[in-house]
């Protein structure tokens, strides 16, 4: 066990990435760490990729509507599921063990000051990662995220301060998909799926972490100015 822990790679003279594997970590704890890293990056510190899983939690992005929570707060509370209101783009989502959550934190100025371009880069990374498992991921016109057939496998939402990006991607690897019945994911009428559900066997989380880092490096290296 253990995974990636602290790797480091150099993308160019301006962006040195540290990869930090946080394992299973409470949402709030990781959120506070993200805020701290955003400040460090703003002050010229190394870029960071945080990899983690969260205990079951519902997060409400800036565009989230309360009616997209399909259970009462009391019922969710009884099941140990917290609700967090946060400063990421997008609607409602759910994190749970078995979902790889990745928070890339770096200054987009080193690449391109373009919010939608960055979201498309994240989609490219995820589509390549899915292809490694023989899965054909696709974009849905007018939407952000990655779909497999008519189901959504990956959700994303970001925040940007002084062109430093944070928040990121949730990739369902071995997630208990029943948990998504608590919400209307992203406010859409869509069923969620996972890598293990699609290929019919469980998948090593560490393998997915390593693949994400590999494709992240590849996609951004090819796009350095």
């Amino acid at each position: 066990m253990g995974g990636v822990h602290f790797l480091e790679f150099r993308m160019s003279s301006v962006t040195n990435f540290k990869i930090q594997d946080l394992g299973l970590i409470a949402y709030q704890e990781a959120y506070q760490l993200q805020k701290q890293v955003v400040k460090e990056v703003m002050d010229g510190g190394d870029s960071r990729i945080l990899l983690c899983e969260h205990p079951p939690v519902i997060t409400m992005g800036r565009m989230a509507k309360e009616e997209h929570i399909l259970f009462s707060k009391m019922e969710l509370n009884a099941r140990g599921i917290d609700i967090e209101y946060i400063d990421r783009g997008g609607d409602i989502t759910l994190h749970a063990p078995g979902q790889l959550v990745v928070y890339p934190i770096f200054n987009l100025t080193a690449y391109r000051r373009d919010l939608h371009w960055y979201l498309r880069c994240l989609e490219d990374i995820v589509i390549a990662l899915l292809a490694d498992f023989g899965i054909v991921g696709r974009r849905e016109p007018g939407q952000t995220g990655v779909w497999v057939d008519n189901r959504k496998a990956v959700s994303m939402g970001i925040g940007v301060k002084r062109w430093v990006c944070f928040h990121g991607v949730g990739i369902n690897v071995n997630t208990d998909l029943n948990l998504f019945s608590y919400i209307q994911p992203c406010g859409l009428n869509v069923e969620m799926t996972s890598i293990s559900h699609i290929i019919g066997r469980s998948v090593e989380m560490d393998q997915v972490k390593a693949k994400f880092v590999h494709h992240f490096q590849r996609v951004f290296q090819s796009r350095e100015e």
């Binding site: 800036r62 565009m63 783009g89 919010l115 939608h116 979201l119 952000t144 939402g157 925040g159």
Partner: protein, 80 residues
């Protein structure tokens, strides 16, 4: 008088939705402090004040769409 305008957010992005103002009219802000947060697609973006000052007007309401380049906040520079 200072204007904090909605900057370019990327190719083909013509507008953004005001998610929230971090301050009210009459509040003082420091240089580099985030004043307003906007949303486009699945991204939030914080727009900071270039200089310290006092906010005289918030030009939009939360939920409004603002075009790129539009003034979001009018401020009086402090110590001017």
């Amino acid at each position: 008088m200072l204007e904090i305008c909605l900057p370019e957010l990327g190719e083909g992005i013509e507008e953004a939705t005001i998610a929230c103002y971090h301050f009210a009219e009459g509040d003082s802000v420091q240089a580099d402090e985030d004043v307003v947060e906007v949303v486009t697609d699945k991204a939030t973006f914080n727009v900071p004040a270039d200089q310290a000052g006092k906010i005289s007007r918030l030009c939009f309401k939360e939920g409004d769409k603002a075009p790129i380049g539009a003034p979001l906040v009018i401020m009086e520079a402090s110590g001017a």
